[in-house]
Symmetry: C2
Subunit: 336 residues, 2 copies
């Protein structure tokens, strides 16, 4: 076992787009676990849009990421040494491990997972936080009925891909919005969505709403919103009465600026229910959601795609790419 | 009884602010009620912001008001003659009577009311559609708990005044937003709100939000939104986690243009539930709401204020004033 490890700290807060200069790679000695602690070797890091909010001083629901501290973030790892009776060397665990090769923790908030059920990396994707997020929004907020139309933005992403497949399984017509022809083809041809709109082909809300009208002639009953901006405005231009909007993310504004919502009147006129939500508010939903998702991934009923960056030093670039939509499916970093 | 009566028709659709030229006063012969019909002499017309939407071709939930037809709208009147077994001369009725001195109808959708319980005009205000609207939004959407803070815009208006009094009765801290010192004083001194902000004193969202912060130090749990624009944005700047927004009206945009919502991120970060609603969607709520409201108005528990324009010809000017916030409390037209 090596004596030192690498970690990435937040060097400065971004103004506008995140840059590589906001991060700093450091070396440190691998600590010994103290009483009740365990040492984890991190195998995969999860990169998620919500982390952009944490890089600001106050703007997000998550606590701000401290400067000069290891970047927070979810990961999956293997226990190397343990003084904690709940964990033994070899155990595979998921939790907030941080952007680092090794992690010492007291084990609270860690979850042991079965490495034989599904691939390790999926515990950060469809069988992890993104999957539960999708499950929560679909089942608790959208509550789509058979035959209804559900629209999801960032449709090829870690959350959106699960949203669409869950809604298809519930008998919905599912329409995605994604960036570029490759993602759109994947969403329709491999995930089985009924249609997918390429937002890059439709420069403004009006154009996107017109394209949506063609593939959703009967209107939209449910919106699972990951993006905001013109995606949400176009959706609201086509909602049916009593539509439900699960507001999960606003990645369109994750480079710092807010994007105003234009179609406010549709919320009133169509009696829309819009609900902002965060998956950690409903820990009671995780066990049933993960049971369903684990089975679905294990049996191939739910498909997924990953973009895997290699090595810790690739994390900042991969994160910046994620905010720009350059990833395809779940963005991970695999540590060597 | 006279042989002719006056009515007001929609002469043209407004572009931007409504003007007197959008209306035309006509004379017509008073018709005889046909088989099953009844003739009503209209006593009060109700003027309501939603009518602005109907003047457009397609923009609102209500069907567009046809050109050259009598302006639609609620009213209270007395049956003069009847060939309908459900109604007798002298009955007092509430319904869509239109901007006219006499009205012939088949009696469907008319409701008979008791002229001895409360003043006739209140069946168009706190014991009518505006009152039920308030009751619906408070009890079915905001669902405030004792000790929570509720914010309502257009606080001295027909809906807002009832909203605040219902919420006070449920143990809430209630804050209003109204236009001008007279309305703000009324809301606090006569209706018993804890505070009222004069939106004219606070020119933009930032200023209004800062004023709100001073009177709602613990944040806002419920928002009953009648106005939109900077009122809604300022409210969202101060909402607590899991706040509920009952979206009832967007009078800020009733001169035709839409006003964008800036604080979209607060909906996500604070996990806000926002629900657009229209009182006619839930006819099941009217009987319990009207029972409570009728009793409260009869006993003086719920107070109200009216602005009464005299004579049918005053209706267009009063309606334009309503859209500009010149009325104080429920805007009515009393027919001679």
């Amino acid at each position: 076992m090596p004596k030192t490890y690498q970690r990435i700290v937040l060097a400065s807060r971004p103004s506008g787009w995140v840059t590589e200069e906001n991060f700093r790679l450091e070396q440190a000695a691998i600590p010994e676990p103290g009483p009740g602690e365990l040492l984890i070797r991190v195998r995969y890091l999860s990169l998620d849009p919500y982390m952009r909010g944490r890089m600001e001083e106050t703007k997000s629901y998550a606590e701000a990421q401290p400067l000069d501290a290891t970047m927070q973030g979810g990961g999956v790892g293997v226990v190397e040494a343990s003084d904690n009776k709940n964990f033994a060397p070899g155990d595979v665990v998921v939790g907030t491990l941080g952007w680092q090769e090794y992690c010492v923790t007291d084990g609270k908030d860690l979850v042991k997972v079965d490495p034989n059920l599904v691939p390790l990396s999926t515990y950060l994707g469809p069988v992890g936080m993104p999957g539960v997020t999708a499950w929560y929004g679909v089942n608790e907020i959208c509550r789509p009925e058979e035959g209804e139309t559900l629209l999801v933005s960032a449709a090829s992403g870690a959350v959106g891909s699960v949203v669409g497949q869950l809604a298809k399984a519930r008998g919905c017509r599912v329409i995605g919005i994604a960036g570029g022809p490759a993602k759109c083809s994947y969403v329709v041809d491999e995930l089985g969505f009924n249609a997918c709109l390429d937002h890059r082909q439709h420069g403004d809300t009006r154009a996107l709403a017109q394209a949506l009208a063609k593939v959703a002639a009967d209107g939209v009953d449910c919106v699972f919103e990951n993006v905001g901006g013109k995606c949400l405005d176009a959706a609201l231009a086509r909602v049916n009465p009593f539509a439900r909007v699960a507001l999960c993310g606003l990645i369109a504004g994750y480079n710092g600026e807010d994007i105003a919502l234009q179609n406010v009147r549709a919320l009133l006129v169509m009696r829309v229910k819009l609900q902002g939500f965060i998956v950690s508010d409903r820990m009671d939903l995780w066990p049933p959601a993960l049971a369903e998702l684990g089975k679905a991934v294990a049996t191939g009923t739910i498909k997924y795609r990953e973009t895997i960056a290699e090595g810790l030093e690739a994390a900042p670039g991969a994160f910046i790419g994620l905010l720009k939509g350059e990833n395809f499916g779940k963005q991970l970093v695999k540590l060597s």
